[in-house]
Symmetry: C2
Subunit: 468 residues, 2 copies
Amino acid sequence: MSKEFLARCREIIGAGFVLEGAGMAPYLTDWRGRFTGAALAVLRPAGTSQVALLVQACAEWRVPIVPQGGRTGLVLGSVPDASGTAVVLSLGRMNKIRSVDTINRTMTVDAGCLLQHIQEAAASEGSLFPLSLASEGSCTIGGNLATNAGGTGVLRYGNARELCLGLEVVNAQGETWSSLRGLRKDNTGYDLRDLFIGAEGTLGIITGAVLKLYPAPAAMLTAMVALESPHDALQLLHLMQDRCGSSLTGFELMADICLTLVATHFPTLPRPFAMAYPQYALVEISSPESESHATDLLEQAIEAALERGFCQDAVVATSFAQSRGLWQVREHISMAQAAAGKNIKHDVSLPISRIAEFIDSADDKLMRAFPGCQLVTFGHLGDGNLHYNVAPPEGVPHDEFLQHQDAVNRIVHDEVDAFGGSISAEHGIGALKRDELARYKSPVELDMMRAIKAALDPLGIMNPGKIL
Amino acid sequence: MSKEFLARCREIIGAGFVLEGAGMAPYLTDWRGRFTGAALAVLRPAGTSQVALLVQACAEWRVPIVPQGGRTGLVLGSVPDASGTAVVLSLGRMNKIRSVDTINRTMTVDAGCLLQHIQEAAASEGSLFPLSLASEGSCTIGGNLATNAGGTGVLRYGNARELCLGLEVVNAQGETWSSLRGLRKDNTGYDLRDLFIGAEGTLGIITGAVLKLYPAPAAMLTAMVALESPHDALQLLHLMQDRCGSSLTGFELMADICLTLVATHFPTLPRPFAMAYPQYALVEISSPESESHATDLLEQAIEAALERGFCQDAVVATSFAQSRGLWQVREHISMAQAAAGKNIKHDVSLPISRIAEFIDSADDKLMRAFPGCQLVTFGHLGDGNLHYNVAPPEGVPHDEFLQHQDAVNRIVHDEVDAFGGSISAEHGIGALKRDELARYKSPVELDMMRAIKAALDPLGIMNPGKIL
């Protein structure tokens, strides 16, 4: 039976693009190297009509499909399980920018386009595509949309969801649905676009998208601000939003230990301050007007915050290179942590007003349960999103500490739940957090999700075992 | 049977809030007075738990439910059909602002709150709730969300969808689902929020919402700009977005006939220009900084547009009263049209880049089919949304011309479809455009919508006959 199925796949996309055996290896292991699955084959279609035919074949032979983009996800959403019954459907060959409409400020792309190529194509037209992630050189826009990616631009421009005006999707029946019209208003029935966005490939396969472009800012300016506490960070955020409005395009929080880790493992990166402070905020201003406008906005806001005692010190970048350097400190936190050893990661969100209180309370509970554990907390404060990572106490072997992973997760996620937060702010659920989801979601919501899944994918072939 | 059902309803909400007979009249007729339906009863619950019990009773007795807010919709979405078998579930008593979180910049409200009360409550906290519609004094936020309302603030702040962080919904089983947590990032499963938003009450009843607040701008400034053509309006829009970024908070287009109608029927309103031009744009700048910043931005942009020949003349308001006056001209177009007699309305959207071409082409086709007909075109150009209204030729009685409604709709909507547009930009489908939807939507999309409807409302009791 599987022979007939594979023969049909070869017929559709050509034998060279149906990978079996060792050729599948790069497609079976997740980004962080924690899990390697198995597959019947890896399919590499060249376009949407081939995807549709492949899905029809999968439906006929009841073969589960794991859609895959750049495989940079952190929750095992795009790799198959160990059963070897599924096919991986890799969209990597579908990497064309279909068109750019500068007046409509939109770009229409294949799902397999690398995010960075999209950013560059936008820049070459004098525009900005503001989705920005650490993995932008490897991740694809289809994956970004399937997981509703976040990143550092959300404060001003929103999540991937808000940057998409329309989709092309092959549904679980192998039919193609397109809303690639580039409309900013369209109230004609249910919002299928937002249902497929964030569904992690469990309802259908995103094959194309219309993305929103923005005018490239005339100037961007960055500062690192030293703070006493997360509470002061909230005051600073509020003050800057009031004064700068949507010109405030970045607001990242990081605890002192983050800068220490970066300084230890990446000694060539800048050290913004001679002395240590408990917390830091990386703030970014973008101006459509001019460099001097950006400078005035940023300096005046920081001055006001210093006067009111919300911040202790600040370093304002005076060149693009300096701005870049400050961002690199922020972007190297995860890598510095990885260099220091394994740790237990959480990607949580909270109402912004409760973040400081959450950090105090969760820190306290963890410190009591695991005295001396190191709390490497950083994140997108302006979005209420913390990467709340827990490393072993000094001297405790990382592998030994990782045995407490479930207990640590329980403390952190119970605390998130108690504060009205989310256990997955921007990484999604995949296979990794499926049990956690079942624990924290209400039965009513899970039932509605299951009803939708059954309605749109009655055979259960779309990325089974993910989310639900 | 219906006696038992009504007895149960009285038990749940009290006899005084189960209206029958003549008491129902105000709830049965649509806003524009075109249709009066019939109902078994009008139910006026006091809170979400009562709504849940009422829906459970409706499910038990198989009674269709028509959820109703301020009844200001334009597509017969919130009034019952003529059968008299349904109940109207009016949310008017659920009108409390539940809480305001100034640090999280959110407000949690009952669905029955008037939009204007929400705007005022936000303003009293120094914040802005930017949803702004002609009917804001009468419409409710639940209706705004159920129809994904648009209005004049979409260019900068998005549709109602983008202004909502979470919902409370009673589903078709009478279960309550809440996502009222005020989170800006939450990737834990399917996006139910956006599925209920815009579903026009056909999947469940929105009973509460968390809304996004923005800092109130320090200054807002308005100008009316005279233009040669819609094509020039697009150039002006592009230039202003490049120069002003998100400080450009309004961009409305109107043809000369709109100003003539307003001047005729509302002679006390300002006449911005001594001579007539083919088109006008109303543009608005909001600055988080200062009055002088807003003035500089606006004047410099208009100067640049004059230099490049994109516009012919401009009137910049120098006071709040003058700004208000210019907006009133825009807001009185519909009323001036109504005073002039009935007309055939269309609420369409297009890719912004194709609007000028669409207007030329649709105007031409209509003029050939109905020589001398008057094309009263205006709308939210920045969102690609036109109110493309067709009035009879001079001297032709309005009622006579309205007999051509179907033929006119066909020409306009076929043209919209040919240009890749939408036949309902912001008004929704309701009962009025259901047949049009069936004509223009793809079978794949309609099938997916029907599958979702059947999955979430298997008894078909939620606002039947609307959308699908």
